[in-house]
Amino acid sequence: MSAPAERARVEFLLRMGDNALVLGQRVAAWTGHAPVVEEDLALSNVALDLVGQARLWLAYAGECEGLGRDEDRLAFFRDANEYRNVLLVERPNGNYADTMGRQFLFDAWHVELLRALAASRDERISAIAQKAEREVTYHLRRSGDWVIRLGDGTEQSHALMQAAVDDLWPYTGELFRSDEVERELAARGEGCELEGLHDAWSARVAAVLAEATLVRPKDGWMHAGGRRGRHSEHLSYLLAEMQSVPRAIPAERW
């Protein structure tokens, strides 16, 4: 395989791994703080799934890269500008509506992407995607339920859920804009172009928002850049916390 093609695959795998890792870390921060114990368990389990998926993607990224970096090295010793996640997943946890809105908008995209990747010609990409798709289908059921419950709930929960969706919407554009990395993988049958996921995502989101009595925000100006390493300031704080222990004692193993 040519060097640029191999680089595109590494880049793509980092994007997949970093999305799961950053969202997993965000969601894990609720552990011990969720409003009720059932939610604490649910959020911890979703976070576990995501961190587990991140491990699979990043381990493969490290192998393809061939520089001897394993998944831990990639997770703990890259700075924010080397992270390749979309901006949506680094949005702060905020209130419960913010957390569930972020989860739902991401899950609805993630599930479509994983379904497409399950057909990848790359056996490893296909295997990870098939495994993750089952888990994410379950996440989506739950996050969609919460959007409906809060949106179609009390006056206050409705207002908070609408505000969350409005606030997060400008971060959804990036999810459907392919660059040379996705195009390269799509051309080789290993990945897919993101534009093709939009109709299914949009239909599902519209249905859930309608049931939640929420207004679908208008598509306006959209943030972008996360997949190329241009992040909001929020990511640096998240990484500082996540990476502090391994960086303080880099030779330690556990």
């Binding site: 997993g24 059932e38 939610e39 368990l41 649910a42 911890s44 389990n45 979703v46 976070a47 576990l48 799934d49 995501l50 961190v51 587990g52 998926q53 491990r55 699979l56 056996e123 490893r124 296909s126 295997a127 990870i128 098939q130 495994k131 993750a132 089952r134 888990e135 379950y138 059921r141 739950r142 339920d145």
Partner: protein
């Protein structure tokens, strides 16, 4: 004299799942294949396993337990092959495993039928939470006998 694959399966069937010790790793359906692979200096026992959930904290423990059990039975060369595809599904849970789960108070996964209370068998149940005490379970309550119970969710 090396153990046959059938003997190895019996040994593995005695390795409990660390989170739900009433079922074995074979009941759980994560052991996919057992085979002797010839190599320099002797044969290696290759055990293929498929993890349940990507982030299941028990995965590492299960791998270690399988290896320890095989060594106890005198197998010197063990190679664990972790295979992701096809992904693990609760359809792979053995019939014996399902019965053991029910007896233990966990409603087994039912793809076709409704979830029944493992205590009183009533179908009048409600979901309390989509997730339970481990990634593979959801929390239910029986409206007939009022007992909460874990449901091993379909996956």
């Amino acid at each position: 004299m090396a153990a046959t694959a059938a003997e190895v399966w019996t040994w593995l069937d005695a390795v409990p799942d660390p989170e739900i010790p009433v079922i074995s790793v074979v009941d759980l359906g994560i052991v996919r294949d057992v085979a002797w692979v010839p190599g320099d200096g002797g044969n290696t026992l290759k055990v293929t396993i498929t993890p349940t959930y990507s982030g299941c904290p028990a995965s590492r423990v299960i791998e270690r337990d399988i290896e320890a059990a095989l060594r106890e039975h005198g197998v010197e060369r063990v190679a664990l092959d972790v295979r992701l595809a096809p992904p693990w599904t609760t359809d792979w849970l053995s019939l014996a495993g399902r019965q053991k789960l029910r007896a233990y108070g966990i409603a087994p996964p039912e793809r076709a039928a409704a979830v029944a209370c493992p205590r009183c068998a009533s179908f009048d149940v409600e979901t309390i939470s989509w997730f339970g005490s481990t990634p593979c379970k959801a929390l239910y309550r029986c409206k007939a006998c009022r007992e909460p119970f874990d449901h091993f969710k379909c996956h």
